[in-house]
């Protein structure tokens, strides 16, 4: 199989400040700490010797193809399953012995859950509030996750996306210190996935630590401070998005729609610093370049007398990186709503 710890890509200077929980000043507490965690089911090793630290206040994206061990790891954080060996600490508590306290301060959107078919949306949120021993307005929470008008309906009649919103709402009850979201965007349409990201952002702004898993890079990239990539039960990469991008050369693909362009018009572009290649088929110009060279590329094209109608960038290289780390490309879903691309229209 694969070597364990040696494969982990940790770029110098991008390491979490400490694995012990504080950086000495006591300001950085680890929200999640896994040390040497292994989980075996019979002969199958779902997670192998995993070391992972997520600092308080961080938004951490947990990536990897289906079956890489992401959900098993999350299940160990919540004491749904117990590690075969190693220690798991969440919010500075033992994830097993003090699980109830952990979960009191944690909001969870699990994977592979089901709602209570016969209970209404409001009853679900009320149950979450009662369980956390809090008073609150269930309708306000349903409003926040966008299903207020379905409050009185049986959750059994909800669509997958509505169930996902409902369970997210249950997780947000009581402003938890830690949010654990397992594949939060599954079942959501692109607009729903975007709302999900906005909620993650606002929770992070409030100061919550967010730990979420995805097999789709695009959902993670837009909101995460750091990501870890799992493959076959091991953490094969752990870094910031920028760090990962840098690690593979940090190239972006700039696709420019033009009125007409020939090879001659590209010489100015090719001469720019940070541009590694440029091609055209007449109607579009495709340029591989550093992310920050985009403006100069557009400028150089316009200088060559080409009218730029539209352009978009694709951080395709990051996608490639993900595929490289995550293994078999066919097991990874990369057909998201394209959060990895930002689109603009030239004046």
């Amino acid at each position: 199989m694969h070597g364990s710890y040696g494969n982990v890509r940790r770029l110098p200077g991008r390491l979490p400040k400490s694995k012990a929980g504080t950086d000495g000043s006591g300001r950085y507490m680890a929200a999640i700490e896994l040390e040497g965690v292994t989980k075996r089911y019979g002969d199958v090793t779902a997670v192998r010797d995993l070391d992972l630290t997520v600092e308080e206040g961080e938004v951490f994206g947990f990536l990897g193809p289906n079956g890489a061990g992401k959900s098993t790891t999350i299940n160990m954080l919540l004491d749904f399953v117990r590690p075969t060996s190693g220690t798991v600490r969440v919010l500075s508590r033992d994830a097993q012995a003090e699980s109830v306290e952990v979960r009191r301060n944690t909001g969870v959107l699990p994977e592979g859950y089901d709602v209570y078919e016969r209970l209404t949306g409001r009853q679900h949120v009320e149950f979450a509030m009662r369980s956390k021993e809090l008073d609150g307005d269930p309708d306000a929470m349903l409003e926040r996750v966008g299903i207020a008008d379905a409050a009185e309906r049986r959750a059994g009649d909800y669509s997958k996306g509505m169930r996902q919103r409902l369970v997210l709402g249950m997780g947000l009850v009581g402003d938890p210190d830690l949010l654990i979201l397992d594949e939060p965007s599954s079942g959501l349409d692109p607009a729903g996935a975007k709302e999900m990201r906005e909620i993650v952002r606002s929770e992070a702004e409030r100061g919550a630590t967010v730990f979420f898993s995805s097999h789709v890079l695009g959902q993670v990239e837009a909101v995460c401070d750091r990501v870890g990539i799992m493959r076959e039960g091991e953490l094969v990469a752990e870094d910031s998005i920028a760090g990962l991008r840098e690690a593979v050369g940090g190239e972006a693909q700039l696709v420019v729609t033009v009125d007409a362009a020939g090879e001659d018009d590209l010489s100015g572009v090719r001469a720019l610093d940070g541009v590694s290649s440029a091609h055209t088929d007449g109607g579009t110009v495709t340029v591989s370049c550093d992310s920050d060279a985009k403006t100069e590329v557009i400028g150089a094209l316009e200088d060559a007398g080409v009218t730029v109608k539209d352009f978009s960038t694709e951080e395709a290289s990051l996608e490639d990186l993900f595929l490289t780390y995550a293994g078999d490309g066919d097991r990874v879903d990369t057909t998201d709503d394209g959060a990895a691309a930002d689109t603009g229209v030239a004046e």
């Binding site: 944690t106 859950y113 009853q123």
Partner: protein
């Protein structure tokens, strides 16, 4: 402790099941029929000692319903995955098991209690003179019996992964203590009374049979309710001799303790396995 939150959620959920409605209607009809059919001028004790009420409605149906209402309590949530919603919230696994026992017992108690209302009305228009105290007391004993089977089924539901075993376990206990018991009771009694027990054995033949009978939750229920509707429960003074009074009292206390044990031991055993389990 969040037992109450779990119990409430579970009650809300279970009580909305179509089952509960059907049961309330069925119970109500059966009991009304019994009230209607008991001979004129009969007493409340005659009603509850009648074949329809005691042997069909209460001891045959109520325990089975308890099993049906409760067998899926935990194993079902594990199968569908809703247990992840439940345990994502700050509930300990013992809160879950005992919350389920309470919630499902209430979900059984409500239709049973409702079904005791219509017969009261029937009693008003028939010559049966109903003793309200005995009537309500009998209702409570009935709920207690049902709850013992609810607890048994929740115990299995917590302790096993397979829905099939979760049904089969409590159903086997039900069959042994109900239908099968009624067939083998007499032969068993004869067999035991014909045996010589060695001198070191603390019980005589009658004692052994009494013990076996007490272990059976349905028999414990019958011991208690027969004495209760006849007005003899915990009233040893009513018996002819002091020895007989003591014997009756001991039996009644043991029967009550056995029912309590049925409500506690299976959930604890189930919890013990559930605590160790990966979801």
């Amino acid at each position: 402790m969040t037992v109450e939150a779990v119990a409430r959620k579970d009650f809300q959920d279970a009580v909305r099941s179509r089952w509960v409605l059907v049961l309330a209607a069925l119970f109500s009809l059966l009991l009304s029929l019994a009230v209607y059919l008991v001979p004129r001028d009969a007493s409340t004790s005659a009603l509850f000692n009648s074949l329809v009420v005691r042997d069909l409605f209460v001891t045959l149906l109520v325990p089975l319903i308890g099993v049906v209402i409760a067998y899926n309590a935990i194993v079902g949530e594990r199968t569908t995955g809703s247990i992840k919603l439940l345990l994502a919230l700050p509930h300990s696994r013992s809160d879950v098991v005992f919350g389920k026992v309470l919630g499902r017992a209430a979900a059984l108690g409500v239709p049973v209690a409702i079904s005791f209302v219509l017969p009261l009305v029937v009693a008003l228009v028939t010559p049966l003179s109903l003793d309200l105290g005995v009537y309500v007391g009998y209702l409570l004993f009935t709920v207690l019996l049902g709850s013992a089977f609810v607890a048994l089924a929740v115990g299995f539901s917590a302790g096993v992964r397979s829905q099939r075993i979760a049904v089969a376990g409590p159903v086997v206990v039900y069959l042994l203590s109900g239908p099968i018991w009624s067939v083998i009771q007499l032969p068993l009694q004869l067999y035991i009374s014909g045996r010589q027990f060695p001198g070191w054995f603390p019980l005589d033949a009658a004692g052994v049979f009494r013990l076996i009978r007490l272990v059976n939750p349905i028999e414990s229920f019958k011991i208690l309710t027969v004495e209760f509707v006849n007005g003899f429960l915990f009233a040893a003074g009513q018996a002819g001799t002091e020895a007989a009074g003591r014997y009756a009292l001991d039996t009644e206390i043991a029967a009550l303790a056995m029912l309590a044990a049925w409500m506690l031991v299976p959930p604890l055993l189930g919890l013990w396995r559930f605590e160790e389990a990966d979801l």
